[in-house]
Subunit: 205 residues, 4 copies
């Protein structure tokens, strides 16, 4: 399975991993030295050496596509990572569905207040759509907790930058949940690279 | 004046134009040919020739910094332009102010519904902040019409890509207002380049 | 066959086209509108529409890896295209082989002069290597016509930028040969996108 | 003085530092928190904190333009750094001057061999130019040690990536000389940032 449920209504799917293989990294690295792959321990040692020395360009040749559903305020942070390609569901053209993220572990009263504010916003949204407002203007009343969806094509080097930043202690908890799920799925696809990455991450802490 | 008011509470300011000069483009282009600037008609002809032929790299050497205040749903589109640098006011750390964008030219009833939905959301926000929620979670109830602020450092080539896309007919009206204001301010700073750009834009239509 | 011989000793190979499919473009475009692929004429129409309107981000989700062998002076231009990933054979670590590009269609005398100059350079190179110079310094005598090799991972949007620039009339003839071969190989992998691209290119001329 | 001589015939000049100031970094960072600059010790502490925590985006708002003259094999490495803008003297259009880099500290015999190989190449080049070859083809005989020139517009974040990589032990000695000169010139322009960078660099070793 290449999908993980995240938060109350979200998910992350590793949709296309055809070019996300440790072998792609080795291929790119070995051309520098005109050396041959052994598809075994020497390749693994090469990957670890690249990672430790910060020689990251070979990791750019491993590429994958993800499908993500997450709250809009998480997507806002996510799409700031520029070395990647995104296409997102557009609320200029699509009508928003009444589905939003509700943080867990809150009191009943707090949940009431949170949901009441949002339900009121969706009522206003529906009314304005009925009145003929273009969705791109009516969305102005919608909350930042609505779910959005996007496809994300990213290479392993850029993925690791995102992981490093979003797994860090200071990162927003909701975003961390996506990073942890992505790390798990990515480890299945590129086990040698992912292990070397986790080791390096540990060395920094 | 290097500021333009945009929409009901927004603005765009050309905050630093020290490196935003036609001369920077000429400097970069002339090194290719090892030729000299004449600070006059031959330089202007060179800029027009670069623009028409789509030889855009010299325009990357003219750089400027903007300060923008705009609705969050406009910022979401804006920050997708990747060949630029952004730092934005963070609602993870700052408490949001009760200020939002209201589209003009609507009926009284529609305005009531729009504003009522948003006021309800801000009430919920205030309550959750008082209850001790971290701002980064409480913002989930806030609407996409709240204003945000960011600084934007961009080179002239990337600025023109943004202008072209955001001045186009299909662009969201609210975003166009910023693009038109930016074009006006930028024309003061780089008149030869801006004129050549507008001519080219016209040729495409 | 996914390889084309180019110039006297070069080639270009489409080494990995697993993510280079028209379907990847459609996948990314359809998420905006939450619409479904029909794997047929409507998908093809969508691709043509994206191309004509200059809405290029969906093309970034089609990615491919090439293996290129070309003269160093061609590689110098090629690697200037920044929206892509490269790893190149390194003459800091590898010993250069005595193989270089010789332009065709020249007189016998001219060919003599050209080759004599280069042979002299290789003699000096061999001597300096024997004397214990590090390859990274000895390469200073080598000519720009030596062949180099690199792997190039690039998305379809960035590939088209390269094609457009390198197929243009003003482009260096040697570089054009690679662009023509690449266009041919790419057309096999992504026929709908490639056709739409060629139509658009024609419309500009 | 903002120029440093490097190697036997090269130089590096900090040509435009109008936007290369510590204050630009502070400006960008403070918008996140909506806090005010004190142009003093608190700003300096902020810069050091950003550097240590790896929060690098504010450094992108400090931008500078360099003019570089260096051997072609150094330029080949330099222009691989993609987060920057380059325009280079073109040997497609300009006739190359007989000037090249000669490594110091070699024996007389070695120098003879090196220079003889290169002089022979320049003789062939001159002959082919006289015979009417286009410079873009004739340059095929020229050695990688010829000097080239380029203008380089780069932000402080990207400059630091380059410095880190090119000041490292494994970097080619010739490239290091440029990095050391650049660090010195940059320290004059952005003393607080440069000091924080050097401290961090030291912490990694």
């Amino acid at each position: 399975m290449t999908t993980r449920q995240v938060l109350d209504h979200g998910f992350i799917t590793l949709e296309d991993a055809a070019m996300a293989q440790d072998a792609n990294v080795v291929r790119a690295a070995r051309i520098c030295y005109q050396s041959e792959s052994d598809q075994g321990t020497r390749d693994a040692a090469l990957i670890r050496r690249l990672m430790r020395s910060g020689h990251m360009t070979p990791f750019e040749h491993a590429v994958m596509r993800w499908h993500v559903k997450c709250p809009l305020f998480v997507a806002r942070q996510w799409l700031r990572h520029r070395m990647a390609s995104y296409n997102e569901k557009s609320l200029r053209y699509c009508i928003a569905e009444p589905e939003w993220y509700m943080p867990a572990g809150k009191t009943f009263i707090q949940q009431m207040a949170y949901n009441a504010g949002i339900r009121q916003a969706f009522k206003a949204y529906d009314l304005l759509i009925c009145e003929g407002w273009p969705p791109e203007q009516a969305r102005g009343v919608l909350p930042m907790s609505v779910y959005t969806e996007f496809v994300w094509t990213v290479n392993a080097s850029s993925l690791m930058n995102w992981l490093k930043q979003r797994l860090a202690k200071g990162a927003q908890w909701e975003h961390q949940q996506y990073a942890e799920a992505a790390l798990e799925l990515w480890t299945d696809a590129m086990p040698v690279t992912a292990l070397a990455f986790v080791e390096k991450l540990g060395a920094y802490e």
